[in-house]
Amino acid sequence: MAGIGFKLQKIARQQGLFSGFSAYGHAAVIVAGPWIFTIIAVALISISTEKRLGIESLANFRIVLIYAFALSIIATAPVVIIATRMVSDMFHARSFDRVSHVLFAALFFGLLLTGLASFLVLVVYFNIDRHYLPPAIFINCLIALIWIVLAFSGAIRDYAAITIGFAVGLSISIMLAIWSAGRGGQPIDLLWAFSVGLCFTFFWILVRILRTFQDAIQAPFSALRLMLRVTRQHWILAVGSLISMIAVWADKFVMWIAPTGEKLAVGLVHAPIYDSAMFLAYLVIIPSLASFMIHIETNFFLRFKVLHKAIENHATLKQIEDLTRQLATSTQKGLWQILLVQGLFCLLAIFMAPLIIEHFNFQFRQISIFRIGIIGALFQFLFLASSSTLLFLNQNKDYLKLQLLFLFLNTVFTVVTLHFESIYLGYGYLGASVVSGLVAYLLLENRLDNLQFHIFHMAATRSGENDWMR
């Protein structure tokens, strides 16, 4: 135009509709999944070494491991989610040359945060037996590194690496632990033995990732700066993830600190009656998490792609509405189907509770906690699945709010149960899971009902989210 006006094209720019919807639905599950590994590892070690070491001594070994898993998963949660987001954005943009940079930065920050958290908790707060300190810190950091490589492995869907890494690694751990116990090893020796297996897991997964992304890291400091920048941009995501991990452990923390907690020789507290029953209850929802992951991979994600393609190829509003409705329905249906099967499975577990409890050599009064834990876990699965799906839909704020809700309820309700008889142990967690699970599901349903709005709305308001990649 001759001197006036600006080019219309300048304002009529269209933004990438799905830039924020990168495929990290499965990654959300990977992020949610690790606590399952926590339980498997602890359970396996407990079962295999209990007889040789004696309950007292083994408890010290086990508590250090539990703390290591809990501390590292909480400390690395923000790093893992940010790294996952960056990697999935990179994949979306088909730009792979800086994946190794992100990995490096994530390992660095993960180590830093875990080191700091370990120091604060183990040294400053509990001031644990100084003989335990070296293996404890070492295992904390090692597990932190594993959480991070796990996220990368999940992002490239190298589930084989994860499976082999853990199967072989944990086998080594268990075998060395048993061997060490058999030769009169103390809990500290067991910890070192255990960490050898974890080293294998870490390096196995790391090598698999580095073989996929071989770019050398030329500028380590700029890689760190980049990660800090993305964290600033996605702080809601980072905080949400951190809260989610604290929330999962909140009821345990309360039980440990409260009079129900017992101090062990190593200097750490635990609540054995509560902990073991709850850990066992969690195991019951493993099948659901697995089928949910499959649902995300095969159904949800594919339907999302179809919707994406249709919109880009000039679909009318009616066509878009039809596709989003299908997506919403299939998501809801998928979730309910999994819940139904899981419900039956839980019912079975509840009936068989006395048997299971007896098999694991637990106390009789743990039957009730175990049963309550199973129902709670069922709803926690609903919470996890719903909030992960919201994360997939890039509803980060919803995700954060839900995690805050669960953290709050899980803490407060558990504190409240402390004032009642011990028969009510676990009801706090149950109440928190039920309320949070239903709220998360209703929120998800609402978001799915208005999915078209959210897709376009987000494209319009949050287009700059991937700017860091430039």
Binding site: M1, A2, I4, G5, K7, A12, Q14, A93, I311
Partner: protein, 550 residues
């Protein structure tokens, strides 16, 4: 595609960042500091100038004219309301005139953050507002104007409606609004494209409706479009007179831009059927800007433009004829009338203009080639920058070779006209499009007759306006477009008949002297303001609107 768009955005944000960087670098510049000093100042002015996409950040004819206008009404105070796609403060190309008291900037696409307004669309009052606004918007885009705009504006301004001051376009309400418009207007089109188009069109309009109008006694817009909408709001809310002075016709230029835009998808396959009356995205864009234009014209107390030809387009676009006037731009007459003609040079013709397709340099070259058959020692000059469209310049050079014109034709590049006019016998303009070409006035002031195509105000300048009394007569010859033969015939006629040539030159000089002096133009604007109650003691018009641009 999403990816591609993403890349574009990234490039954009790089540019924005760079411009911020530049702004920071220049923060110490006193010229910039002056702009910052008057930015968003709440000072009442006599006149608020509403400008879109030009002054003071973009150089060009209109920007320079605005600078001239303010400097030539020194007894009046002005404020400037500048509309841009985004409101980043860039480097101003003009110095702050002494009588410019405040500067306001609006970014049309700064749509704010998020808002949950209309979250419950089934709420009775929200639903009613939604239905009313949908109807008003449909009416506005159909054949509506000020009345529909007024209703929409009232809803936006009404505190009871609950519409948020920021983030309205990002609210569920706006989403439902876009959906309803889509369903009612073009349910067969690509929703993706409709969504972005509607966001831009409505977003811009609502941004205008939600901005604060600077205080002034009179509002003067230089175009329709978004600037025109703000003028309409000023009329409705401030109850003060509103004027429009168009150089180019905004709606018309938008029309060309939209019809040629390859980024607007044609989603209705009309095939070979000319009867297909289905509404498509292009229609949406066109209708929107047409309706913005009608709204503005209906709101304006007086509508001026540079020449009569534009008035016919304004009328077609809905401007009431009884409010229309022509105010031409002027030049500094003495700068050219005082030039002494030099003798002893070969017969010389010149085309003054940039070497670009719209000036149709190739037709000029062909005309030169034909004319040279009659005039052996003909010398032809093309005076103007050649670097704007280098491919076209190269094509022209090849044509010069083909026509064997090397010996008689010179591309002078950008030169000072006063150095060349004394040896020039004739000015030729072969343009395909012009508004009011100042070179004809400058040539006229120097008593050089002109041959020009019948575009813009060329005929008015050469033959006189229809209401010219007494009629002065022709100051040159008007030819058809892309008509090398006619142009050549006119060149030969005037170069071989020196008596006629001199007479035409004198006539043109008389006309320019009488109607196209810069002082006269400034006086006309002064009178225009006075007609609407804005007067000053004594103004001292100075300068040529193009002077500062040289």
């Amino acid at each position: 595609m999403a990816l591609m768009e993403n890349k574009k955005n990234k490039q954009k944000s790089v540019l924005v960042r760079r411009s911020h960087q530049r702004a920071a670098d220049e923060a110490g510049d006193p010229k910039i500091a002056k702009w910052h000093a008057i930015a968003n100042k709440d000072a009442k002015a006599d006149i608020c100038l509403i400008v879109e996409g030009c002054y003071p950040f973009v150089r060009g004819g209109v920007s320079t004219w605005l600078d001239w206008l303010m400097r030539n009404q020194p007894d009046l105070t002005f404020s400037v309301f500048a509309i841009f796609p985004f409101s980043d403060f860039r480097k101003a190309h003009y110095e702050v005139p002494d009588n410019l008291v405040s500067f306001h900037q609006l970014g049309l696409q700064d749509l704010g953050k998020e808002s949950s307004f209309g979250h419950k669309i089934d709420n009775k009052s929200v639903k009613q507002l939604h239905e009313e606004m949908t109807t008003d918007l449909l009416n506005l885009f159909d054949v509506g104007g000020l009345e529909d705009f007024s209703r929409l504006n009232a809803a936006i301004q009404d505190p009871a409606s609950g519409i948020p001051k920021s983030g309205f376009m990002n609210s569920p309400f706006a989403w439902h609004l876009i959906n309803s418009l889509y369903e009612r207007k073009m349910p067969q089109a690509s929703f993706l494209h409709f969504f972005w188009a509607a966001r831009v069109l409505l977003g811009g309009m609502f941004a205008i409706m939600q901005s604060d109008i600077p205080r002034a006694d009179l509002y003067h817009t230089i175009s329709t479009g978004y600037a025109g909408l703000l003028a309409a709001r000023a009329k409705l809310e401030m109850k003060n007179p509103v004027l429009i002075s168009e150089h180019g016709i905004y709606s018309n230029e938008r029309r060309i831009e939209i019809l040629m835009a390859d980024w607007i998808a044609d989603t209705v396959d009309t095939g070979l059927s000319l009867q297909d009356k289905r509404f498509d995205l292009r229609d949406l864009w066109l209708r929107a800007f047409d309706s913005y234009g009608r709204t503005c014209y209906q709101a304006c107390d007086e509508i001026t433009t540079l020449f009569e030809g534009n008035q016919r387009i304004q009328e077609y676009l809905g401007a009431p004829t009884d409010r229309m006037h022509v105010i031409a731009n002027g030049i500094k007459f003495e700068n050219f009338s005082s030039l002494e003609k030099q003798e002893g040079h070969p017969p010389t013709i010149a085309l003054v203009g940039r070497v670009v397709p719209i000036k149709d340099i190739k037709t000029f070259l062909r005309a030169v080639s034909i004319a040279r058959k009659s005039i052996d020692d003909l010398s032809a000059l093309i005076m103007g920058p050649t670097d704007e469209d280098e491919d076209y310049f190269e094509e022209c050079r090849l044509l010069v070779g083909e026509l064997d014109l090397e010996s008689c034709l010179t591309f002078t590049g950008n030169v000072k006209l006063t150095d060349y006019f004394p040896q020039t016998d004739l000015i030729v303009l072969s343009s395909l499009s012009e508004a009011q070409p100042l070179v004809l006035l400058e040539a006229g002031a120097a008593a050089i007759p002109c041959i020009a195509t019948d575009v813009g105000s060329c005929r008015e300048i050469i033959e006189g306006r229809s209401d010219e009394t007494p009629a002065i007569g022709a100051g040159g010859i008007v030819t058809g477009l892309v008509d090398a033969v006619s142009i050549a015939r006119a060149i030969v006629e005037l170069l071989t008949d020196s008596e006629k040539r001199i007479a035409l030159g004198k006539t043109l000089q008389t006309r320019v002297d009488r109607y196209y002096r810069s002082e006269q133009s400034a006086q006309n604007y002064k009178a225009l303001y006075a007609r609407h109650g804005i007067t000053s003691a004594q103004s001292d018009p100075i300068g040529d609107p193009r002077e500062q641009d040289r």
